[in-house]
Symmetry: C2
Subunit: 136 residues, 2 copies
Amino acid sequence: MGTSLRPAHIDFPAPARPDPNHADCRGVASVLSRVGDKWSVFVIMMLSDGPKRFNELKRMINGISQRMLTLTLRGLERDGLVTRTIFPTIPPRVDYELTDLGRGLSQPVEALGKWAKDHLVQIEAARSQFDERNDR
Amino acid sequence: MGTSLRPAHIDFPAPARPDPNHADCRGVASVLSRVGDKWSVFVIMMLSDGPKRFNELKRMINGISQRMLTLTLRGLERDGLVTRTIFPTIPPRVDYELTDLGRGLSQPVEALGKWAKDHLVQIEAARSQFDERNDR
DNA sequence: CAGCATCCAAGACGATACTG
DNA sequence: CAGTATCGTCTTGGATGCTG
């Protein structure tokens, strides 16, 4: 496989002398980075109103490649946020569904999504202001 | 500079025919990906109890390289979440501080952080279970 | 239909060296 | 102290072609 299910950039270098402030940050970061993954967020949102099939998701999430959808679903499955159910029919059918854990996560995620939506204009304004000052 | 302030992977391919479901997702994703960035989260958390200097942050966030701290701070500044104040003293001194926007963001972020902390054990259990089933 | 394997380009990141 | 510049390495992710 071309890409690992355990991304490297969320692993942490152990501090020489552990700073009490960050004792448990290592693990938290790895959870947050799943949320930061744009595809994961979309998949979670798409699944929040019931189970979906692979190609169904692919169609709903415009622009995702098959590879990334597979990878994203595996990641979510690995984290126990999504279940994968295979129906041994012909043609094969696979349903993806949020677990209880996944449904729990989707709440704070949507809170954050709401914040993002509400402040998107401000942020984009800040960005173009910043860019204009610095581009040239 | 080696790395852009505007990461490519958060840009979206425009849908052939815009799906009403995703009309405003493009922008939201770019905000979420800032949150998903582990360094950004740590910086925001470190700054949530008052302004800090560059090397002060560097020491608090164990394992971050100078380069990444600079890049992260620039990203946060660009998004209007952090202000950068230069004191033209010798040696130079630069303070970073959360803006109102930044403080607003830190709330849902901490809610998510709390969720992550509360369910970390479950997630890590799910991960090792999944890995054990599939590794071999 | 669902998905794995392979190839390849673009980008992210760390290490190092240098500056006002 | 607080950066910038540059280099080399690793990861990411799209495209394509092949299977049960």
